[in-house]
């Protein structure tokens, strides 16, 4: 799980072009949206693509996204339980 969390942080930094951030700057329980990392709806689309492309998870209900994308912790938990690749 720890390895997956680090991998996710690296992917998010690259995909969202968070130039000034490193893996160490993102805590596992930090909120990804709003007052946390401050991501927005376009970033959410990028996260959905990461889940699909890299872990074989297709999200169809936007309500699921709200729970899954709360933090690195919740993302890693969901990926571990639902990944197909």
């Amino acid at each position: 799980m720890e390895e997956l969390k680090t991998e996710l942080k690296e992917k998010i930094i690259e995909a969202l072009n968070l130039e000034d951030m490193s893996v160490e700057d993102i805590n596992d329980t930090d909120m990804l949206f709003e007052e946390g990392l401050g991501l927005d709806s376009i970033d959410a689309l990028e996260l959905i693509i990461i889940l699909d492309k890299d872990y074989g998870i297709k999200l169809t209900d936007s309500k699921d996204g709200k729970k899954i994308f709360q933090s690195i912790e919740t993302m890693a938990q969901y990926i571990t339980e639902h990944r197909t690749k």
């Binding site: 072009n17 130039e19 990028e46 693509i49 699909d52 492309k53």
Partner: protein, 355 residues
Amino acid sequence: MERCYINGMGCISVQNTFEGNFLEHPIVYSDTNIIYAVKPNYKAFIPPAAIRRMSSGVKNSIVASALAIEQAQVNELDGIITGTGMGCIQDSEKFLEKMIDFNEEYLTPTSFIQSTHNTVSGQIALKLKCNAYNFTYVNTGGSFPSALLDGLMQIKNEGKNNILIGGIDEIADYTFKLYQTIGHIKKDNEESYHILESRSEGCVGGEGSTFFVLSNEKQDQTYAEVLDAHLVNKLKKEQLEGFINNFLQRNNMNISDVDAVVLGNNGDVNFDTYYDEAERLFKSNSDLLYYKHLFGEFMTAPSIAVWIASNVLKEGKAPSVLYKNNEKGSDSIKTVLIYNQYRGKDHSLTLLKNV
């Protein structure tokens, strides 16, 4: 009919133009034929959350437009008009690369959103919360002259007070490699700076974002007055003299009334002959200036020419590094004509005078 003044300018280019000086310490690029813009401190102008999605052309344009607006001291714009030859080509490349890499699946939205040609004018409008006229011209070498002509008409004929115009193009690595392959940009081993002595095909590729605030009122900081602008898509070399004469005559001028001409020589042996013809017409009466040995060529390079002409008119003279015909020119330049063409097409003339 109103008059049209340039009251503010901002220029991000391959020279240190954003620092406000007029080519006091020009950078000489002699070992490369693709030259990149000198980056300003973007973070002083753009919030971090927004900056991460922007390509260099968008970032340069946000900064250049902010500088122009600050200089002109305007609070409200009546229009934002941009010209771009290739648009946000960096994001177009990213988007297309991902389509290929991911077999047309998993298309990420950011590059697609930012890849459109009107991204810059849209981003500036969003930043300023400006709902006024917003237009982007995409006509290769005619892109910026079209934006300028539109801005000029908005001021002179439509009664508008302040219009922001700009010319934007950015280097995208893959596209520029293709330009080198087909001979539009010189090969790597050809000398770039001495373009007047060039005997080879292609130009030195550059990039830049240059913005101007056009206004109907002259102010203390006004650089110049824009008298007229004209462009045609096709023109034979033997038609150039008539093209220039007709343009000057409609402004009640003739060739001897032009103090300085800014020519767009770019070192391409196939097309610089147009500038040879222009030089023949003006060399006995006017100072002959060129600039693409310092700035490189790109489709909206005429915006750099307007930036140069405006500075020349404000100071009354041009730095020696811009002179084609002699090192020391006139100290009282009052009228400047800009002539540009892009690969033998999109011929444009812009006439400016001092204030």
